[in-house]
């Protein structure tokens, strides 16, 4: 019998790794994936809570998170393609139009 807290800690670890990845990685696609990882971690937490409280709404939230993630992936990747087409690079440190 596994305590719920284990699941929560696992999700925390995954989330933290996601954050670290976000900071460490340079490839914009990878960074995007790190974001997805964080989302997954959150989902895990949701499901764990849902189990602990037998509250189904947790699952609903996960569902919505996944849907939004899908939409986000579609748009995000389209953007990435455009950026690559314009800059010829996927390195975020070379993609700093925001500055000027």
């Amino acid at each position: 019998m596994v305590p719920v807290s284990y699941y929560l800690v696992l999700s925390a670890v995954l989330f933290g790794l996601g954050v670290i990845g976000f900071l460490v990685k340079r490839n914009i696609i990878t960074i995007f994936m790190c974001i997805e990882l964080m989302l997954n971690a959150v989902n895990l937490a949701f499901v764990a809570f849902a189990h602990a409280w037998e509250a189904l709404s947790g699952h609903i939230y996960v569902f919505f998170v996944i849907v939004i993630a899908a939409a986000e992936a579609a748009v995000g990747l389209a953007i990435i393609i455009v950026i690559f087409r314009n800059r010829g690079s996927l390195n975020v440190e070379r993609i700093n139009f925001l500055k000027w």
């Binding site: 954050v19 900071l23 340079r26 960074i31 440190e93 700093n96 500055k99």
Partner: protein, 658 residues
């Protein structure tokens, strides 16, 4: 059924519509269409005014003064201004004068402006002026009146500078505007003070509030708020009605087309001050000191410009100065507490001064733009209609018996003499009398130099001289008629008793000034014979002025020059109008110029304002430069900041909470 509610607005709105049409579309129109719209609107407005008058007379006395709030124009807390019209005998009279004379002058302009450029523009301005003037007259509260007040100021500016290519014209326009500002400043303060005192600017409330207040002592040291209000209002009047010391703009205003001079700077606008003071009679009646001030200023204004007029050679300038002095008479009358008399003179003056100007215009027209009377003379046979009407006007203003000016001016002088409120009434009366004499003199000097004696004009002008077209002469005749009979509505009791004609005007205006008259202590009893004596005296003096003029300019013209030679200094002073303009320039304009240039511009504006603005910009720039180091554009850095924030939030949840 005629109803003032919709009839009265037509009076001002018709000219406005005309102005709008002309201003927007007039450029493309032919002269005929412009006449149709411009003159037509004025005529319709005159008709509407008459209709309104008819309906007004049918109103039961209880409904007079008639007032109607059309809608709430401004509202800010307690401050509330209605778009309201206010019609009583006074405003009715003014409305009729404005529309009537205005209409005549419109007609006259058709002929006079025929050769001028900007034809449609002229009529657009003229109509606009009509609108504002009527708004001023019919306004139901001081704010609306102020709107009209400023509006006519604007129109006068536009019309003085009508020939804006002439620098002198545009300067004159600016001068008029700026000088008026000084008066308007006082007026604005007066409005604030009124609101502060009565909590409203509607006539009805103000007058009601004022009438229950006790009259203030005549001694200025103990004068109260009403005196302040009255004086400030009068400041406005000084500016608008060209009283001492702000009269200087009016003579220059003659740069505008002559019909303008006639309508705005003789008949109507300059009388706005008189109207306003008369409208506020209840306030003034409660402030004897203010009233006395009005009288004194008026008297001085009647006197000095007259002296200047003696030696002027520009036909319009002479008339301008005479206008100033006549306005002075009106204020003298008001100041003496004889508001009716003042208004009476306003009316008659409107007639004959308009006539004089139009006549002058006709002469200038004939002389092909020549305005210097020294280059005229002997025009009588060539332009009879003009000459005849001009004669009538001259007689009227000089106060020849049975002419309109005679009655009104005498009324004023007599009231001044017998005024119970004025301590120095006698002195003022004396000055007024002298002024009247001078008036007679310079008017006939003008007449003689213009129409009689041998012609001093150049041959080529001679060929050009001709009588003006009908559109110009007809209004002259009508006005001439009015200048003769206009006075008969106000025949003084002394004379009236004998011919059994009551003083219609006084009775007519009675209700308007009732409140003021109650406050006035009864005049010390004077036998009518006494008054008749005075009349005789004035008549004699007028006659004397006439005689002197005749001897100077018909009998032996050298005499005038010799006189001017002997009293060279005085002559120079007069010719240069007491150097008033120069003094003003030295005392006010130059210091102001220096102040604006050195202090306000170079020190304040450049130093402080610009400094502040640029400084703010610079600070912002520095801050931006500083912040920009955070805005690295590097996603990873941003991520770091976000993570930092998350950490902080989490830390708060962990340790921050008890």
């Amino acid at each position: 059924m005629l109803d003032l509610v919709w009839l009265l607005p037509l009076v001002p709105l018709l000219p406005l519509a005309g102005a709008a049409l002309l201003g927007l579309r007039g450029r493309q129109w032919s002269r005929g269409e412009v006449n149709l719209v411009g003159v037509g609107s004025a005529g319709l407005s005159f008709g509407a005014a008459i209709a309104a008058a008819v309906t007004f007379f049918q109103l039961p006395l209880t409904e007079i003064p008639w007032k109607f709030d059309y809608f709430t124009w401004l509202e800010a807390g307690r401050f509330q201004v209605q778009a309201s019209f206010y019609l009583d005998q006074l405003s009715l009279l003014m409305m009729l004068v404005v529309t009537g004379v205005g209409f005549l002058i419109h007609v006259y302009s058709i002929g006079y402006m025929h050769h001028e450029g900007g034809y449609y523009r002229f009529f657009a301005y003229l109509n606009l002026f009509m609108f504002f003037m009527l708004l001023l007259v019919l306004a139901g509260n001081y704010v609306l009146l102020f709107v009209g007040w400023e509006g006519v100021g604007l129109c006068s500016y536009l019309l003085i500078g009508f020939y804006f290519l002439r620098e002198s014209a545009s300067n004159a326009g600016k001068k008029a505007f700026i000088v008026n500002r000084i008066g308007d400043f006082g007026f604005t303060l007066a409005l604030l003070l009124i609101f502060w005192t009565f909590g409203s600017l509607e006539y009805t409330n103000v007058f009601a509030g004022a009438s229950v207040m006790p009259a203030e002592p005549g001694d200025w040291s103990q004068a109260g708020v009403l005196t302040a209000i009255s004086l400030l209002l009068f400041t406005g009047a000084i500016g608008k009605s060209a009283q001492l010391p702000l009269y200087v703009w009016l003579p220059d205003a003659m740069e505008g087309p002559t019909p303008v001079s006639a309508l705005i700077h003789a008949a109507t606008m300059v009388a706005a001050g008189v109207y306003m003071v008369a409208r506020s009679n209840i306030l003034f009646a409660h402030a004897p000191f203010a009233l006395a001030t009005v009288a004194v200023i008026g008297c001085l204004t009647a006197y000095f410009p007259a002296t200047i007029a003696l030696v002027q050679n520009d036909i319009k300038r002479v008339l301008a100065y005479s206008t100033v002095s006549q306005l002075g008479y009106m204020f003298l009358g008001l100041g003496a507490g004889a508001f009716a008399a003042g208004i009476f003179h306003l009316m008659t003056h409107a007639f004959f001064k308009a006539l004089l100007f139009l006549g002058a215009g006709s002469v200038i027209h004939a002389m092909n733009g020549q305005q210097d009377i020294r280059k005229m003379g002997g025009l009588w046979p060539k332009i009879r209609a003009t000459a005849a009407t001009f004669w009538i006007a001259a007689l009227a203003i000089a106060g020849a018996p049975l002419f309109s000016g005679f009655f009104s001016k005498d009324e004023i002088l007599w009231q001044t003499f017998t005024s119970p409120t004025l301590r120095i009434g006698k002195l003022l009366w004396l000055l007024g009398l002298i002024a009247a004499t001078m008036t007679a003199f310079y008017m006939f000097r003008l007449v003689f130099l213009t129409f009689h004696g041998e012609g001093r004009y150049t041959p080529e002008t001679a060929k050009h001289i001709h009588e003006s077209p009908r559109t110009m002469t007809r209004p002259l005749i009508v006005l001439a008629l009015l200048s003769v009979v206009g006075g008969w509505v106000g025949i003084p009791a002394a004379l009236g008793e004998r011919v059994h004609i009551p003083n219609y005007l006084e009775h007519f205006l009675e209700p308007v000034f009732a409140g003021a008259n109650q406050l006035r202590p009864a005049a010390m009893p004077h036998a009518h014979s006494e008054e008749l004596g005075f009349m005789g005296l004035t008549t004699l003096l007028a006659l004397a002025g006439f005689a002197v003029a005749y001897s100077f300019y018909i009998r032996n013209p050298e005499l005038a020059n010799q006189l001017a030679h002997t009293f060279r200094a005085l002559y120079q002073v007069l010719v240069n109008k007491y150097y008033v303009d120069e003094i003003y320039h030295a005392v006010i304009v130059r210091p102001m110029h220096w102040l604006s240039d050195r202090v306000f511009w170079q020190a304040f504006d450049v130093g402080i304002v610009d400094g502040a603005v640029n400084g703010a910009a610079a600070r912002a720039q520095e801050m931006g430069a500083w912040l920009r180091r955070w805005q690295s554009g590097n996603t990873r850095s941003y991520g770091t900041w976000v993570a930092l924030g998350a950490l902080a939030a989490l830390t708060y949840f962990l340790f921050g909470q008890p």
